[in-house]
């Protein structure tokens, strides 16, 4: 294959790739195919609170871990601790905060001090 042929194919590949990627990225995402990780920030925070509340009832740490995994966070314990801190600032109900602290501790994290 000559150099000219290779250059022709490469130019085509670049044009084709740009067209296809442009098309793919310009399409709106499926409105009913969102994952837990793509929830809006306030719903994600509420999701973590619910996980903590559920853990307070069933004490099932594996289940809590798997639920937290759906949020795609690197460090679950740290994430729960961060949410706890934010909710302390927002003045969340003490029962929620206690549930979050319990979950953070169970996950091996360092919970913030409750007010």
């Amino acid at each position: 294959m000559t150099r000219t042929a290779i250059i022709n194919i490469l130019i085509g590949v670049i044009i084709g790739s740009l067209l296809a990627i442009g098309y793919a990225w310009s399409r709106p995402p499926n409105p009913t195919d969102a994952s837990i990780a793509s929830l809006r920030a306030d719903y994600k925070m509420e999701y973590v609170v619910m996980i903590a509340q559920a853990y307070a009832v069933d004490s099932n740490l594996d289940l809590a871990r798997s639920r937290l995994a759906a949020l795609n966070v690197k460090d679950s314990a740290q994430h729960v601790a961060d949410v706890t801190r934010q909710l302390i600032i927002k003045g969340a109900p003490p029962t929620d905060l206690r549930a979050l602290v319990t979950l953070t501790t169970a996950l091996g994290g360092t919970p913030p001090t409750l007010p």
């Binding site: 042929a5 130019i11 044009i15 084709g16 296809a20 793919a24 399409r27 969102a34 929830l39």
Partner: protein
Amino acid sequence: MRSPLSFRNRARRMQPRTSPLRPSLLLLGVFIGVVLGAIYGFWIDPVKMTDALPSALRSEAKDQYVMLVASAYMQDRNLDRAKQRLIPLGDAARAVITSAQRLVAQGKDPGALVTLATILTGAAAPTTQATAITAASPVKPLTPTSRVTPLPTAALTSAATSSLIPSADFKLITNEKYCNDVERKPLIIVDTVDENSKPLAAVRVTIKWADGQDGFVTGLKPEISNSYGDFLMQVGTTYSVQVGTRTPPVMGIGTSTCVSSRNIPYPGAMRLVFKRER
């Protein structure tokens, strides 16, 4: 005297100049590029939804969300908060029942969804009325023009054959032939109502026959009634219908014989109405 080389150069210069672009190779490249670009753009790094509302979740994620709402409700028993969390999903009761139905169909334990569904459908606390307005609408009478579409029946595991409203017991108040000349489907139609004859959703119904078993949950056809559920019978097979687990099954249910307006007989449906007793 000119050298042979200069003759060759001159001859080359005299040839028509060809473009370095070759359409066939370019097209081949474009084709390869489109394939590679599509793989990257659609699968490797697709557009992801951000800031999504719970209503945009895919069904399994929605089930997880609803299950968590129900589990959280078990902790704080705060119905208003549970409703608030379910608002983005539209009709709270329907969202919970639908998730419960999906979990049952998958052979999973609906767990806390049972409690929340019961309360949201107005079966318990009076404070649920605001959310359970649709559930509180009267049972729509079935007329020959009613749309009767079979539900996708859910396979029930033996471990999950209890009613979604476990504490309730039911009494059969109607067992009648039902003919629909338009649809002509041999259905078992089950309506479940509460003590005040108001529609009762989320009641599990188990259908058994000689060599099989199936079931459904009432209330998944709100366009007919929040108390409605149905099952498509096979002609010649006899079924038993059990609502919940404590109510004795109604035995010997089979297709009825209906006659069309042109005097043509066809297999008809049976309609059973169960009323909850305390």
